[in-house]
Symmetry: C2
Subunit: 328 residues, 2 copies
């Protein structure tokens, strides 16, 4: 699988994170459950921003964070996502390219702003995320470069983008292009609220055979399968996909393929500073290794190590190179 230019090409949200400290009282006033992730409209984004404290901006997006992680691990990553022709779009494009990820999706020419995720960090270090998706909702099949898809070993899709028709069509189109080129398609469930909104659609997606590798945490796997027992849920999902990769927080992770299940323990982080991005970076480590044809256990281990690394630093993207985590 190495006669390609990219180990992984991802399609996902192109957003800039706007991060500010917040107290519990603000969460209560705004009426957002702590630790939750939700999408908001422009008006609510303006209102919430006006109530937030002095903030700090960094590029984000779940699949984009994963591609940044693959690049930091020394892998070859590409990203497709929709930015606007504005300063936040320039920031997003700069940061992902500066990390070494190929990013060539043209900015929108219309006057539509780049997405942003307003993140409230409470004193207990929990993050409550409020995403105004902006330009990301306007990613369409036109933004999918067929040639680039064919040059990637794995195509990775993000459930967060499922809410709107144009990016949904773009992701299905990308999956079909990948399969035509004989490449596997990976899909990450992103978030339990995503599954609540789109369960029948996600089930149909799996049943259509468009997904080969399914990523999720245990709660998401149970919700999508409609089973309370994790083993049963994984077995059920395994009927529709070749490979299930499930993270279990401090209990480690597992990969299920062809009826067999491989598990690894979690790697203890140097420090627990900020768990944001742990799932994104687990996927980065797993995919970077899996795309190079390594055994599942090796790939799970690299996922666990990479997740531990991002937990030990502030933010959802690696602060430096991570290639020392790769064994070979």
């Amino acid at each position: 699988m190495t006669d390609t230019d990219f180990d992984v090409l991802a399609i996902g949200d192109a957003v800039v994170d706007v991060i500010a400290p917040a107290d519990e009282a603000l969460l209560a006033e705004v009426g957002v459950p702590k630790g939750s992730m939700r999408t908001i409209d422009w008006e609510e984004a303006q209102q919430l921003y006006a109530r937030m404290g002095p903030a700090q901006e960094t590029s984000g997006g779940s699949a984009a964070n994963s591609m940044a992680g693959i690049a930091a691990l020394g892998g070859r990553a590409a990203f497709i996502g929709q930015i606007g022709s504005d300063q936040l779009g320039t920031i997003f494009a700069h940061d992902i390219r500066a990390q070494g990820v190929a990013f060539d999706t043209p900015a929108l020419t219309e006057d539509i702003t780049t997405g942003r995720c307003l993140i409230l960090v409470t004193p207990d270090a929990q993050r409550t995320m409020n995403t105004y998706r902006g330009a990301s909702e306007h990613l369409s099949v036109d933004g999918v470069d067929a040639d680039q898809i064919a040059r990637a070993t794995i195509v990775y899709l993000e459930a967060y983008l499922w809410d709107h028709a144009p990016p949904r069509a773009a992701m299905k189109h990308a999956a079909d292009l990948a399969h035509k080129a004989g490449r596997p398609v990976a899909f990450t469930l992103s978030d339990i609220a995503c599954i609540d909104r789109h369960r029948p659609d996600f089930r149909a997606l799996l049943e259509s055979g468009r997904v080969d590798i399914l990523f999720g945490n245990e709660e998401e796997a149970r919700a999508l399968a409609g089973r309370t027992d994790l083993d049963e849920a994984v077995a059920e999902l395994g009927e529709h996909v070749d490979l299930c990769v499930i993270t279990r927080g401090e209990h480690g992770a597992l990969a299920a393929q062809g009826g067999a299940t491989i598990t690894v323990s979690a790697v203890r982080p140097r420090a627990i500073v900020d768990t944001t991005g742990a799932g994104d970076l687990f996927a980065a480590g797993f995919l970077a290794s899996h795309a190079r044809g390594r055994p599942l256990e090796t790939s799970l281990m690299l996922g666990a190590r990479t997740a531990a690394e991002v937990i030990a630093d502030y933010g959802a993207r690696p602060l430096g190179k991570l290639s020392h985590l790769v064994d070979d």
Copy 2:
């Protein structure tokens, strides 16, 4: 001096800091001396940004940082600075207002971008600053609210803004308005390179009687006075201003007034994480106390404590409230 609405009103650069790690090799290639501060044009800003790693954006500007510090100390601060009608301008305005600083300068209606400071952080934690001033250069007398000036106990001006005629005129206008209202004017020397460019002009400014309180570090004081001995330099500058406040890094600070000099030791920070903003926050502490008519020694002490606080955290603005530092 408390029959006012603001303890301090500052006029200064309105910029967003763009901060990225960098290695020594990048500094050498770009040809910038480590730890230096310089202004760059648009083309150079684009070229340098393209070579910088993934970055993080936070609001900055020396005098703006000082006003943020005063607000964090529980003081009443206002800021006048020029932003553009763009996302960086929105970020700057949001952050300074969210900190509790009054900021009402209308954004430019022309298509001129908000300024930004590209900051390269080398592994030894030194910061090399490259400022594209943008809209800040366009602050004019129109941006100076005469009523607001008259409502401030002290007006604080920043030498960084001296390079261009419109903000220079705005600052002189503000000084005249303050004096007309019977309020003192403070001026910070900002940077040794500023003095190199404008020494005759700064001398003329002092000799014109427009400055009552002069802020600087010892190197700046010596350069402006043209004396190698600090005591002689302070004595010389004291002939033109009522009060000289000089910081001496780890050797503490001094205030000279009417031939008498008061010194304080530096306050040992909890940790030395990032010395950026130490001078800005020293000025914040001093001014917050001095504006309330406290003794010079008390004001120097609060300056030293506030500087120590910002040194112990990453960034040039306080991360939370600092009112616990105030004795009364």
